[in-house]
Subunit: 563 residues, 2 copies
């Protein structure tokens, strides 16, 4: 490599405040699970006694970027953590070349050399004919994979090491099956086999650290990133991804609609320690110059394969919005606000044909199964206003999503179900209950919901209220909302605000459902607070930097921090 | 007046975005109730048809400051809206001079002339001997006061004028008695008479616009302001009050602990269009040089009278924390975090005597009744951490607050009950249920609650989650939390962030409990959003300025705003 294609100066890395990266070994497999270990100072009692405060281990989404022993090199990409695990299963083959036409075209195009990731895998992996490679399939066969052991260890956050006693509140689980003490690999397997959890793990994204999405696990959050025709360089987009996972994003969705989507995505995936989701329809639409009527199954199919071979871990697919639903949206205040939903409705109205994502759904599932790409069934009819919440359109589509979930399971595709949107507080529970009923407990993945329509500029908060509630009730993953929602595109500061806001909402839900150990960090924080151990409070904060900055503003004296 | 004592340059005034101040006349009394009327632009249909969008009337806490016809003059104070109403009841007398020693001393002290409000009322009002002047008393007698009609009109927000039809969600009330269509003066009276609502209205604060706090009315929010020994001039404090009510504070609490508390408070009350609350214990402690053991009933009593005659509308009084509760706090993670609670615990431990606020409680009520000062029964044992929520200490005190509520009612003192604090989501409902049970449905007034301990810098959000939930379940007023909670003193920006955050939480609760008309603003916003009427979206936003600023950042073109 003679010249750097990407500036790495703007990439945020380095350890967290008072924390070190630790690696816990597996007992079934030869794996090392990364945690963040927050080190605390001693308690000095009024009698002068010194009491050690044990370190607190917390879930860490940040990947190698926060390991001081790791040298970040975006040009190389992250280490391929899962490579060996995937290869050893002996159910995959190396393809001779990229299977998608578009992928091959882009690879050939020398004009793109200057922005291409150097180590594009020209021979992506795919399931051998007749083999199934999804974590769901393995689980159904009774197998525990290294990925499953990894997430079990990860979710436990070394709780076994905790000796401290503190007052625990009993959780209220709304019928969930939260383990009492420990997450075992067997439990992980059984939850995946039941379709109640997914472990997004495209065989072409070996860089991702395994994580699990399900109501009986820690609540996860997703951060949307992505360029638009008017903004962002590749560097900025990679930094947004690294930045989002640093603050706590469990997955990222790349919703790019600008130039060089394909190349940008390659950089993001190769450097992302968390699963990456996309909405392939957006890129397919770019390929037809934004003219909805020109969309076709062929173009969409090629896009699915293109992205699957790059390593996208889950696709949002708006296959549940059917011709018959469109009339039910006519009297809505805000019509169809989902971009994917609006695109497919327009396509159907133009062609007078059923949604091709629905008519080709089994073909889609076959493609996804071959790479272990999960499907996130998009709610094209999610309500865009309080008035439209829980209406016939929304719930009509939800029932179809239930059908599609069953069809995906038949092909061993891992499935999650997307949910609203704008919903007033008293109408949230019905969403959760119907989703559980119609979708056989497949993980629910909601956008908020926003509990009012009147606070643009503060919709991260309006939606965190609904998000915390629905996550408590059983939603497995929350899609973040930033302060710019309804107003513009989020910048880095907005991404961070959105992530931290959702992190706290998810944490509130983890405590409320009684997830083992969820209260520990709160306990440690409160003890530090009571003892005026300021530095420990900063270290334990979801956002140490902001806590420190706010504290410094009014009480700048160094003495205040350790006293 | 030869020289201005206070700079008025820094006082924020002027109308809201696209809004005018309107005044609605009473039908029983000769009163004029202020509303904010948001004017909307027309809808242009795709067929070119022009359809008028009727204006939206919303609740307005901002007082005359947003009336362009009103000339702000802090030196004079606000117009005495209620003066005539109070006088006409003929149950009050003008005292010959201030009754509190401290008040008289300060008035005599010429060194204070430069910072004294010019028109201090030397002859404050008090109930005639044998008379009772509280709104609660009037309501119990079956009387409707002008104040009661004012709040009925105010809460209705001109809902009768609304002709538009939109899909309404049914509320879930948890046993509350929300009117179906309209708030009548009779309903207001009956709710006050039942002790389920209070109308804070000190006869010495005639400037305040009447408002009501009760679970069957709109959820209210309080903003804490106040100087500290190291910060703020009088001007800054008055501006903080004006600023807080501009953004939506329904009451303000002046928690000053710095210099010249007495004089600062005078300026604030004379210029506050909303009820003002205080914690008299804080000032009493200042009077004894901060030495808790020197606190006495005599000093406290004089402080109550001093503040009652200035016009404070409600006092937080920590009378429920008793000797027997102290041992129950020993094993807590965060002990006693309420400042008032900590002061009284220290006093009791030093003197080995029962809390003097409890032993003198009937005397306190007699003083309060004579001016119609409400009592907000402080929860000195509110939990300061998730671990301490809903413990024996907290609920033990709550039962005493129930007893004190009944004793206050016997003397016709209006009462509200303060609540937590830090409470995990699953434990919130028990707080509301126990409060309703032990306190005979007296209005509940909570600080959040915060649903996690781990997000310093974001505690306005952590607490808005709990606040929205508990307000939905029946809490009448939420005390705001700012981003600086646990870290430092809020500046103006923090005050605004706290107020808007709580406004949206309160609004989410109003919608959830099905308060008549609560969904209208959301409907209008969503319709404007669907029609790309940007200026209307800004006008309808809880914070127009931030919405506009965020929008401008990414889409600065003027054309985007009206298209």
């Amino acid at each position: 490599m003679t010249q750097q294609k990407i500036s790495q100066k703007g990439i945020t890395s380095g350890p967290f405040h008072s924390s070190k990266k630790i690696y816990e070994k597996g007992s079934i497999f030869d794996i090392e699970v990364a945690h963040r270990c927050i080190e605390l100072s001693d308690t000095k009692t009024s009698e002068g006694e010194i009491i050690k405060n044990p370190p607190i281990t917390v879930y860490d989404t940040s990947g190698p970027y926060t390991d001081p022993d790791y040298k970040v090199d975006l040009e190389k990409g992250l280490p391929k953590l899962r490579k060996k695990w995937i290869e050893e299963r002996d159910d995959i083959e190396k393809l001779p070349h990229l299977s998608s036409e578009y992928g091959r075209e882009r690879l050939k195009d020398e004009a793109l050399n200057h922005l291409r990731f150097d180590h594009v895998n020209h021979t992506p992996l795919k399931a051998k004919t007749g083999k199934c490679v999804s974590q769901y399939y393995y689980a159904c066969q009774g197998h525990i994979t290294p990925e499953m052991e990894y997430v079990a260890i990860r979710e436990n956050q070394q709780l076994k090491e905790v000796k401290e006693k503190y007052r625990l509140h009993q959780g209220e689980t709304f019928g969930a099956n939260i383990p009492e003490k420990e997450i075992t690999p067997e439990f992980v397997r059984d939850e995946i086999a039941a379709g109640r959890a997914i472990l997004p793990a495209n065989i072409n994204h070996p860089e991702a650290e395994p994580m699990i999405i399900g109501r009986n696990f820690l609540v996860k959050i997703n951060a949307n990133i992505g360029n638009s025709p008017t903004t962002s360089s590749i560097e900025e987009e990679v930094e947004k991804a690294v930045w989002a996972v640093r603050w706590g994003a469990d997955t990222i969705m790349d919703l790019s609609t600008g130039n060089n989507i394909h190349e940008t995505r390659e950089w993001i995936i190769r450097n992302s320690p968390v699963p990456v989701g996309t909405v392939p329809l957006y890129q397919a639409l770019e390929k037809v110059g934004g003219e909805v009527e020109k969309l076709s199954w062929e173009i969409y199919r090629d896009t699915l394969i293109e992205q699957a071979e790059q390593g996208v871990d889950y696709f949002t697919i708006h296959a549940g919005l059917l011709m018959r639903h469109i009339p039910t949206t006519i009297k809505r205040v805000t019509g169809i606000v989902s971009r994917g939903g609006a695109i497919m409705a327009k396509w159907m109205l133009h062609h007078h044909k059923e949604n091709f994502l629905y008519t080709h759904y089994d073909d889609i599932c076959d493609i996804l199964a071959a790479y272990d790409v999960g499907v996130s069934l998009g709610d094209g009819l999610r309500p865009g206003s309080i008035a439209d919440a829980n209406d016939r359109a929304q719930f009509g589509e939800l029932e179809v999503l239930g059908e599609l979930n069953r069809r995906a399971r038949a092909k061993y595709v891992q499935t999650i179900i997307e949910g609203p949107g704008h919903v007033p507080m008293q109408a949230i529970k019905e969403n959760m209950e119907r989703q559980l009923k119609h979708c056989d407990e497949a993980p629910f993945y909601t956008l908020g919901p926003l509990t009012t329509d009147v606070s643009p500029g503060y919709d991260h908060i309006t939606s965190a209220i609904g998000g915390a509630m629905i996550a408590w009730q059983g939603t497995a993953m929350l899609c973040y909302v930033t302060p710019k929602e309804h107003l513009g595109l989020p910048d880095k500061h907005d991404v961070k605000t959105g992530v931290i806001t959702y992190k706290l909402a998810a944490h509130a839900a983890d405590i409320a459902k009684g997830f083992p150990g969820a209260q520990l960090r709160d306990y440690a924080m409160s003890k530090a607070r009571f003892e005026f151990r300021w530095k420990d409070q900063f270290a334990l904060a979801l956002d140490s930097e902001t806590a420190m900055k706010f504290h410094d503003t009014t009480l700048p004296d160094e003495g205040y921090k350790s006293s």
